[in-house]
Structure formats: C-alpha cells, structure tokens
C-alpha cells in the first residue's frame, strides 16, 4: 500500500465517501442558521445544539438506546457463539432445520413479530412493558445476523487445532478460551457491531414493546410531527457521529499504548 495507490485503495476511499458523504451533511446543517436543511447555507449558529441539550427526553432516549444496544449485542453474541460452534463443529442430527429456524426472524415482517410479542407479553406472561421487553425482542432479531457472521468465520478452521489443544490436556473450557475464542475474534467483533447497530436503529419492535421509556428511534419518529425540532435531531446525529469517532480513535490509541505484542488471530 506504500508507493502508488492501488485501484482498490481508490475504490475504498470512494466507498467511504459514499458512506460518509450524506451523513456528513448532518453536522453541516446542524450548524446552519435555519430550520430547513436546504442549500444555500444561511449562516453559522450553535443554537440547535443548545436546543438539543435542553431536550431532556431526547437525551434520555439516547441513553436508553445505548444501554439496550450494548446489552442486546453482548447477549445475542454470547448466545450465538456457542450455537455457531455447535452447528459448525459438531455433527448434529437436525442441524439443518435448527439453522433454518434460527433464520426465521429475518423472514417475518417486524410488524408481525412486534404485535405478536406484544400480545404474548401482556396477555400471557402478564409482564409490564419496559426496556427489558424491547431488549428481548431485539435479541431475537439479532440472532440470525450474529449466527451468520460467526458461522462464516468458524467454518474455515479445521478441528485439528482444537483437538491438539485437548490432546495437550486442556479441558473443553480452556480450549474454548485459548483456541476457539481467539480464532473467532473477528467474527465476534463483527457480530457485536452488527447487533448493536440493529438494536440501536430498530423502530417497530421497540415501539410496540416499550412501556413509558423510549428508545431513540421511537422518539425521533414521534418528533417528525414537529418540523421545528428537526435541526435539534440533526445536532444529535452529529454529536453521536463525533462522539463515536472520538471513542474509536481513543480506543485505537489506547490499544497501541497497551499491549504491543500481537498474538496470532488478533485483529
């Protein structure tokens, strides 16, 4: 990658522009002195950020979404990993049908899942709606994605590494921690990220399964009735972008300051 940039590198940059281009308009218009996000730009203002900070219910819904997203991504991956190991590592009678069943949430329209789960939670389980019920619904939606990513990672490796570990006297748990988990690491990270995105962005199931606490998408959808609130939400979107970018760069720097030795299988 040193020397003259390859065609692929140029493509990657173009790809990133496609990905970030539209999104970067959010910070632009969040600083624009107008209620409307249209060109030409009117002038610089930070008032939309002030209105964002004053909007406590929006900030609260952001917090709720973050908490639910993290719990969902960790739980779904924790459930998905052993299942993916089972389906790729063991000769299972009925493995095919089990896998198909796990992919089912993809096919069912979310409105159907949402309404059905709602009735079940309220009428049969007699539970109250809360962020917990939203989380449960999201875990269900995440499992197919988590499984796909993890299985395509695990399918590549032969069993001999794990067998060697066991032959060396490690028990199953230590084999998992020392061999399987590092091998699965890229898949695990992808699964965590995908599940977080899905939960953080999901509207239909979240709307039906939440009680009086809102997630961010539920809140944003309800705000559409009020055009004047739009710049405030753009400000929030920009703040999220900036916050996550800082987080990522900081984490990368920390990692470099920390462990220098790269283990095989590490990212």
């Amino acid at each position: 990658m040193l020397g003259k940039p390859s065609a692929l590198f140029i493509y990657a940059i173009a790809f990133m522009i496609f990905l970030y281009g539209p999104v970067m308009l959010m910070p632009v218009f969040s600083l624009n002195d107008s209620t409307f996000a249209t060109f030409p730009l009117k002038g610089f203002t930070t008032r939309h950020y002030a209105s964002m900070l004053a909007n406590t219910s929006m900030i609260l819904s952001l917090k709720n979404s973050l908490v639910v997203g993290v719990i969902v991504s960790v739980t779904a991956t924790a459930i998905g990993l052993p299942a993916a190991i089972a389906l790729t590592r063991y000769r299972l009678p009925g493995g095919g049908p089990v896998l198909s069943a796990m992919m089912l949430p993809l096919v069912i329209p979310s409105i159907v899942i949402a309404v059905a789960l709602l009735v079940i939670v309220l009428r049969f389980l007699h539970m109250n709606l809360s962020l917990w019920t939203v989380g449960a619904g999201h875990i269900l939606l995440c499992i197919p994605f988590s499984m796909t990513v993890l299985m395509s990672r695990l399918e590549g490796f032969d069993k001999s590494l794990e067998e060697a570990s066991r032959d060396l006297g490690e028990n199953a748990w230590m084999t998992f921690v020392r061999v399987t988990l590092p091998l699965a690491a890229p898949g695990v990270i992808s699964s965590l990220l995908l599940c977080f995105i899905i939960s953080f962005d999901e509207f239909v199931v979240a709307f039906f399964l939440t009680g009086t606490e809102n997630t961010l998408p539920v809140y944003l959808f309800s705000q559409l009735r009020f055009p004047n609130k739009l710049p405030g939400t753009l400000a929030l979107g920009s703040a999220i972008l900036l916050g996550s970018a800082i987080l990522v760069v900081a984490a990368d720097l920390l990692r470099k300051l920390g462990v220098q030795s790269a283990k095989p299988g590490d990212l």
Partner: protein, 373 residues
C-alpha cells in the same frame, strides 16, 4: 454495573458454579421484580404524541401532584390503538377526532364526566358537540388542540389564476403535476369528489361503487400529480422551503414556520371550503391509576395557560376560547385567525364515518397507492 462484573468474572472462570447459580438467580429475580415496582406506584400513564410530553402542556397537573405522569409516546394513532388493544395499561390517550370512534368501537374508551372538568365551560361550543367529541351522544373526548387543513402555497411560484380562484382543484390540475403534495390519506379522494361538486357532508361517507368511481376519477390523478404523499410535516416543510413543492395540503404550523423563515407562503381559503381537525384527551378503561388523576390531567390540558403555550409555540389552535385572549395577538394573527368563534363556524369540521365505511375507504386508498404505476 453488577451485570458486567458478573459476566466478567464468569469469563475469567473465577466463579464457582454455586456462586454463579446464586448470582444468576438474583439477576433473574431482579428482572422479574423490576416491572412490579413501577406498577405499585400507580402513576398516571398517558399515551401521547411525542413532543407533547412536556410539562408546559399540563403545568397545573405538575403543580398539584408534584410530578409529570408517565408517557408512552407514539407517532400514529393506529399504532397506539393496536398497543392498547393488545393490553397495554394506559389511562389517557390523545387521539384526534377521526380516530375516537375506533377507540369506542374497540370498547376501550369511557365516557367523560364533564362536570369534573373546571375548564369545560370555556370550550368552543362548536367543539363541545362536534362529531368525535360526542359519540352516540356521550362525551368520549375532551377537545384540546385543533388546527386547520387547507392549501398552503408559495405566492411566488403559483399562477395568478389560482390566487384569484383558490381551489382544491390544484391537486388534480396537470399544470401542477409533480409540484403539489397531498397528505398520505384517503381524504384526497373525498376532496376530489368535493371539487366535482359534492358537499363534504356527503363526501365523507362515500362508499361502494361511488367511492370506487371517485377513486378512479380523482384519486388516481391526485396520487399521480403529487410529488410525494407526505406523512410527516418536516418532510413537507423542507420541500416547500426549497420550492420543490409549490402547493400542499398543510396544517397551520407549516405556514407559520415557513413565514417565520421569510419564505413567501400563504394559506388558502379554497372555494370548496377548508377543514378543521381537532384532537383531545380520551379516558381509557385499561388504566390502573386513580381516575381523579386522569381528570386532573385532562383539565390541565384544557386550561387557557396550555392554550397560550400551544398557540404561541406551535401555531395550532386550542379548544378553550380564553386561550385566544391570553395568547400574543400577533401569534393568533399569524395563524390566519381574526375571530376565533367566527373562524370555527366557517370551517368544515371533519366528520367520522362508521367503522365499516372508514375501513373501506382505507382499503381503497391503500390499493390506489399500491397500484400506482
């Protein structure tokens, strides 16, 4: 935090199995007892439009009870209705006139005892007896916020012909094809029928062959000519600000907001008439809180103080006549209202057809959009 420690220790294998079981058990119990705690407090639960869950709309309730009620916010009444029908325990809901009937038919709404509402006497008489406030002669909704539906248009971008002769016909005029925007609602068909000469009192209950005919003659054309069928006011406001759409079905707030930004927009008084919609508070029988709390909340919404906030803040009207005296006269004028009582009389109040007709109209509208080529 505890949960993370738990997972962390489990991952490190530092936890004995017994420890783990007891921890997991505690976690499970915590999970189960969590909802019960909130139920025990019996706080009022309201189903509310997002954005209306702010204390300034029900200040007297907060003053009296020291805290705001719990809110479950929604963005469409159908969604909210489905949620309550499934068993969600809400005490109060904020529907609009056209959907109250559905809450009544679903046996979820309870009659409101207006003698318990101190502000009821100041409600516009036309609203006190409007279709939707009264269902089968019983008060099923306390009207709170109202607004108009008419054509908002860019004075710099439409022809003088239209300005001299404002008409809903603009939605079916090929000259404006791709430059108008209608609300995503079956009302388009009814408006078409009105352009064709049918009075609203007949058009609102169109059904059967006449409905299909109107959908074919007017609906198809209207859908084709619309740049998009809008579902949220933000979308519409953006399009009008940029000039992409020059005329649209719009509520008062759009005109107010665009004018404030210096965009030349005016609100038409079409010859076929303009509409008034209204929303309000409905008591639900699914709630768990003391009904007295619900009455306090509804009464707070009907107060002139709330009306003042609503008029000045959003550009919508309020059901309490006194609100218009309390509000800043400039804001009232910006809504295009000179005399509120007179204004209320001259507009067409939306009516609700029977459930069967409503469903049929929904279906025809859904299919009309689906089959657009």
């Amino acid at each position: 935090m505890k949960r993370i420690q738990f997972i962390d220790r489990m991952a490190q294998g530092k936890m004995s199995r017994r420890q783990m079981l007891s921890q997991a058990g505690a976690f499970g119990v915590g999970l189960l007892s969590l909802p019960k705690l909130s139920a025990a407090a019996e706080v009022l639960t309201c189903m509310e439009w997002g954005g209306y869950d702010v204390a300034e709309y029900f200040q007297s309730y907060v003053d009296k009870h020291g805290a705001a009620p719990n809110f479950s916010i929604f963005s469409g009444e159908e969604d909210a209705l489905a949620k309550v029908r499934a068993g969600f325990a809400a005490d109060v809901m904020h529907p609009c006139n056209y959907s109250v009937g559905r809450f009544v038919s679903a046996k979820l709404a309870v009659e409101i005892d207006t003698s318990k509402l101190s502000n009821w006497k100041d409600i516009f008489p036309a609203l006190q007896t409007a279709d939707g406030v009264l269902v089968d002669g019983k008060v099923m909704m306390a009207p709170a916020d109202w607004g108009n539906s008419s054509i908002a248009y860019r004075t710099d971008l439409v022809d003088d012909d239209f300005k001299k002769n404002e008409s809903w016909g603009i939605f079916f005029d090929d000259k404006y094809a791709g430059k108008v925007s209608m609300l995503d609602n079956e009302l388009l068909i009814l408006i078409g029928a009105m352009v064709g000469g049918m009075p609203y009192d007949e058009a609102y209950k169109l059904t059967g062959a006449a409905l299909t005919e109107a959908a074919k003659t007017w609906g198809e054309k209207g859908v084709k000519n619309s740049r998009f069928l809008w579902t949220d006011a933000s979308e519409l406001q953006q399009a009008m600000a940029s000039g992409e759409v020059v005329a649209a079905y719009a509520w008062n707030d759009v005109v107010k907001n665009l004018t404030r930004e210096g965009i030349p927009v005016t609100y038409a008084k079409p010859k076929e008439g303009y509409f008034t919609w209204f929303c309000g508070l409905t008591l639900l029988n699914t709630g768990k809180a003391d009904p007295a709390l619900a009455y306090d909340f509804i009464d707070a919404w009907l107060s002139p103080e709330t009306g003042k906030t609503l008029i000045e803040g959003s550009g919508y009207g309020h059901a309490n006549i006194k609100s218009f005296e309390a509000a800043n006269p400039d804001d009232v004028k910006a809504m295009g209202i000179l005399d509120p009582v007179e204004h209320m009389k001259s507009a067409i109040l939306f009516k609700t057809p029977t459930d069967a007709v409503q469903n049929e109209q929904n279906k025809v509208w859904g299919e009309l959009k689906a089959l657009k080529q």
